[in-house]
Amino acid sequence: MNSQTLTSPDVVSQPARLRSDLLAIADLVEPGWRVLDIGCGDGALLEYLRDRKQVRGRGIELTEAGVLACVRRGLSVRQGNVQEGLADYPDRSFDAVILSQTLPFLDDPAMVLNEMLRVGRTAIVSFSNWGHWRCRLELLFTGRVPVAIDLPQQWYESPRRQLFSVTDFARFCRQIGVEIDRQIYLNRGVRIRTGRFKNLLSTTAVFTLNRRS
């Protein structure tokens, strides 16, 4: 008789309003993909991908609050750090492995990128760009180490944080045999066409990465 499903009223999710770099990442994900989001936070991106792109998503998140928020959204999430979380997955378990705004905080970025490209066919990363002209001017004129525009954290607010630019990252990828495929550049959340000046004009970059064949 009663054919309604049993979802409690308190779990009906709000329409997703995503951070701009997460929206850019979502644009790089194809419908139906299997996706792993490492450092998935409250699961906003995975929920969006599930609801809009029928993605089969999994998350790894360190904080209890983040894991609880993900479970509340009906997501599959494991508590753990990036390193130990990735090691368990067999090769090519996912179409894409996502790492958003986490690169500056990693102990061993090369290891993590290599693991992402072992576990996934592609990797999608987003990061704040310290090569932006305002960062350059800040150091030149104030003598202060710049705070990234899209990651407004002071140097003392996090146990470790590496500063790097789009150019640094591109060079790093070449060194470890990783190819940058699709690229989206944002300036304070707005997508920009940058031509040659991407490192100068973008505050955040979003890349799809592949293993160089």
């Binding site: 009663n2 309604q4 979802t7 609880l68 479970v71 009906g74």
Partner: protein, 411 residues
Amino acid sequence: MTTNTVGAVSTQYFTFAEDEPFCLESGESLSPVTLAYETYGALNADRSNAILICHALSGSAHAAGYLDGDPTKLGWWEDCIGPGKAFDTDRFFVICSNVIGSCYGSTGPASIDPGTGKPYGLNFPVVTVGDMVRAQVKLIDHLGIDQLLCVAGGSMGGMQVLEWAAHHPQRVHSAIPIATTAHHSPMLIAFSEVGRQAIYADPAWNHGAYYDQPQKPDAGLAVARMVGHITYLSEESMQVKFGRRLQGLEKYGYEFDTEFEVESYLKYNGHKFTRRFDANSYLYVTKAMDYFDLTQPTGSLAAAFADSTHVKFLVISFTSDWLYPSYHSKQLVSALTAAGVDVTYLDVKSSWGHDAFLLEVDTMTNLLGSFLDRLVREEHVTAPAGYIPHARVTPATTTALARTQLADNLA
């Protein structure tokens, strides 16, 4: 106490293996076998909303409500099972059965051996967690349920959950093992053995033949329970519960009477346990746990779940649980991930030790409730007739510290 209860309940009994004996892993067999069980809520039209709850070492089928209407006889997981609670009895058909080998109505060493007309005692065959679960499979068959929406339980209940998922995967959609392990560690076996040695050492135990004696091995069983209670707590929870406080004394008496609160607590609970549990059952059930090892026979835990890739897991551990430490659950999660299983995992921050699984009700309600909501959505589970949607409730009237008193009675 708590609101939103299933109210008065009564235990039911299911007997099987009357003609054909029930074969056990040891090679021995039992005939007949009775299982005591309780159910709460109603089955939906296609019988797809059934949840099996598995109890821990000294638990019973009475998981929720008031037994025979007696408000003092509260179910052992009353905080999580009931209308609007984590296991919402308005939406789900919840089943809990007493394990074989126990003493709450299911066949165990205190049952009458039909061969002799006397209680089995040590003639009762040794049972395993695998045997306990195969008996539960018979019950689920009897109830006409093809597939359980979920199997959930903590501690030894969690072992049964893992057994279901590994060896009866076609019968379950999801599994929630809580504060448990896939292989009983040497430390756990050691604690089991201390408990058993305490019972053996009691002259009244009489090699298990005490049922017709005036004296029961209460002293031994009480010591076994005291050891158990220590392992269910944490150093921090003992500090909070007892500190170094004295029981009814101003200063040290320099004598061997009970002086510290913690001594009094252990003595009281050890003694109280003897009024509700059978010493032989304690031997059998702890032995069953000791044999539990899903890494056998292949040596690989991932291999144990090779056929379980469709089962959705929610694994929960607690940071201060040193009896079933978090790394046991993490090993399980790693193995499940390697096997390609969909697994959600949280190591809940708690200072209550192993008992936390009965005490961290708010977090548990969040986790269990949301996970079950997801299952309902993904498995298209319909509501039983007459269901009116409502928000989830968390019993907010009790603090974790107050709940510890309840847990002492029920763990």
